[in-house]
């Protein structure tokens, strides 16, 4: 029958695409997972140091002081884990949706090596005292051209893949990934040139840095995370995205307003007042595209709660999208002077970054990884139990971090606001919350080690090989779809 033949060809084609994408995607995902483990350990250390400087306080470990371990941890988390895992997932989604094979996987892997080398030099550079103390750009100055060159090499192959696409339709995920591919070099080069190369006033450089962080979240992490969500949810649920048009509105909303965000962080600072005001307004307007995305996703999964609960990929993705909504609402609230004055310059500012990078982005990407890796290795995840515990522990830890950073921050800045009270009150106000945060970090370390072990054992093919995914079989009692 022609239909059956077509389906057979389709499967073969998909297998060929997966085969071509296999090595670069697995390379990026594995090295990202290693960086995540490292970042989680550094995250625990820096959080412990925040409340008890006596922790690991040996002279030869002076490089773990909070001022160095915190930026090293952030660098490892953002550049080592987030962007790298995003690139891995992005390559695979592009290949699948453009129905194009990955030509030249070697170049991608070489670029990946250079990226890893850049991050390694950066993290070690910070730890050994060559950091710049510029948030999210704390790597020594010399590193950014390496990162930039490596990323450009990756982008070139993604764009050529898009050119060779055999599917006429350009899916919403492809839009998001291509957007992120162009936005990251743009904001990264701009920020580095204006901070490190061009002369400029010191305050303008600080503002550039704040803009860079806002844009990184809204124009790089958000598009890749949303692309993954727009792919994974419909795929597993077996139903197209509720409305493609809403998807495009969401994309353009993000594209138009995303680049204005960030500077609200310095409201009341030594900048012209319009800069934080415009950024704050952009963050509030961002709620519209976020609402569009959320409605679209909710309509897609409506009435399919069994699938959501039985597939780890969708469960992680839905959790990630929920954290994204929380992040956006929370940032919008912080952009009002009346709320922001209690959260600015406190634990909350770090908490919101973690909410975006760990709560939203990482959870979504975990979902994508749980979906993609079995398809590339041809084996099933060895331990469903470990996936479930990874999910529960991550949710628990992120929730704890959210509460600790939010309330801790408000408590801390209220204490500093009581101007006639002694300094001791203000400093000890944040302490209990910092202790709570380190419990959460211990949990994250534990969860991440489980994730890494699961990944390593599936890669070494020690996992049971089953042809039908056990997660699909679980639903498949009534319907026998693959």
């Amino acid at each position: 029958m022609p239909e059956e033949k077509e389906a057979q060809e389709d499967i073969q084609r998909r297998a060929a695409i997966d085969g071509s994408a296999r090595f670069p995607v697995l390379f990026f995902i594995t090295s990202a997972a290693v960086w995540l483990t490292l970042a989680a350990i550094l995250g625990f250390v820096q959080q412990m140091k925040l409340h008890s400087p006596g922790f690991l306080d040996f002279s030869f470990l002076h490089f773990l002081n909070y001022g160095r371990s915190n930026p090293a941890f952030m660098g490892a988390l953002v550049y080592g884990w987030a962007i790298q895992a995003g690139v891995g997932v992005g390559i695979w989604i592009m290949a699948r949706l453009c129905r194009a094979e990955v030509k030249n996987p070697v170049t991608l892997i070489v670029a990946g090596h250079f990226w890893n080398l850049g991050v390694l030099i950066g993290v070690l550079g910070i730890l050994f005292g060559h950091g710049t103390s510029i948030e999210w750009l704390a790597f020594p100055k010399a590193v950014w051209p390496i990162l930039c060159g490596a990323f450009s090499l990756i982008v070139i192959w993604l764009v050529t893949m898009f050119h060779r696409r055999q599917d006429k339709e350009v899916y919403i995920s492809v839009w998001y990934i291509l957007g992120a591919c162009f936005w990251f070099p743009w904001i990264f080069i701009t920020a580095n040139l204006f901070i490190h190369i061009f002369p400029g006033s010191a305050v303008a450089k600080a503002a550039t840095n704040a803009w860079f962080m806002g844009s990184m979240i809204y124009l790089v992490l958000a598009p890749i995370g949303l692309a993954s969500a727009y792919y994974i949810i419909p795929k597993v649920i077996g139903r197209p995205v509720h409305s493609a048009q809403l998807g495009y509105y969401g994309f353009w909303g993000l594209a138009v307003f995303g680049g204005w965000t960030g500077i609200q962080k310095f409201m009341g600072g030594p900048l012209p007042a319009w800069m934080p005001a415009v950024s704050g307004a952009a963050v509030i307007i961002m709620l519209i595209p976020v609402l569009i995305v959320t409605v679209n996703q909710i309509m897609t999964i409506k009435g399919k709660s069994i699938e959501v609960n039985s597939s780890p990929a969708v469960r992680f993705t839905v959790a990630g999208i929920s954290f994204f909504v929380i992040y956006c609402v929370f940032s919008a609230l912080n952009s009002f002077l009346t709320v922001g004055k209690f959260t600015q310059l406190s634990f909350t500012s770090l908490g919101t970054q973690l909410l975006a990078v760990y709560g939203f982005f990482s959870m979504t990407i975990f979902g994508a990884i749980y979906f993609i890796v079995p398809r590339l290795t041809g084996t099933e995840w060895p331990s469903l139990k470990r996936i479930n515990s990874h999910f529960m522990l991550s949710i628990y830890a992120m929730g704890t971090l959210l509460v600790m950073h939010l309330f801790g921050g408000v408590w801390q800045s209220t204490a500093y606001g009581k101007f006639d009270a002694p300094l001791e009150n203000a400093i000890s106000a944040g302490k209990p919350y910092a202790i709570g945060g380190s419990v959460a970090w211990a949990v994250i370390v534990f969860a991440t080690l489980g994730f890494l072990m699961n990944l390593v054992s599936i890669l070494s093919r020690s996992g049971r090989s089953e042809i039908v995914s056990k997660f699909v079989k679980y639903i498949g009692g009534q319907e026998n779809s693959g």
Partner: protein, 202 residues
Amino acid sequence: MKAVPVEWADAETGELFAYPAGKPNIFRQGQIVYAQEGCAYCHTQMIRPTYLGYESWRPDFGKEGTVELPIRTRETRSGDYDGEQFAYLGVQRVGPDLSNVGYRHTEQWHHEHLYDPQSKRDFSVMPSFRHLYIKRKVKGQRSELALSNSKSTDTVVDEYEIVPTEKAKALVGYLMTLKKDDPFSGKVAGEPEDKKSDVKSK
């Protein structure tokens, strides 16, 4: 790049001043150490106007110990950061704001505090920056810069002394230059020169 200095006259004495004064504001070499050690992750250098909080009234954000009554430190302005490589406005306030730390302590205090913060403030959560100091055998006379709060674990107090390295000296030099409160005319940009004429025109 620097802000254009604006001249202004003291209302009482008629003496002429300029803001920004055009003098080098900070000790740049020390700011590099400040960045390398990541001080900016716990300390801000940004005092906000009162509509965002009352921290500008804190004595420990201003000139602690030099005044009797609570006195307000002014909020930081962009001219205060002239000549700096990067304005370390800060992330979170784990420790106090450092915009005006140059007024608050002596160099000796800073060195002793950096070496062992808890010896100065027992509630402090600041890490020790021992690696910026070296312990050496006293040869001849003791160094003027030798610290007096060496920990009991450092033993043999008489034979050895703890002295700051160049990095520590640069860092403290930088902290001592942090005085972001140059006076300015108080005129708001765009405000008419003569307010009376403005009233008449209404």
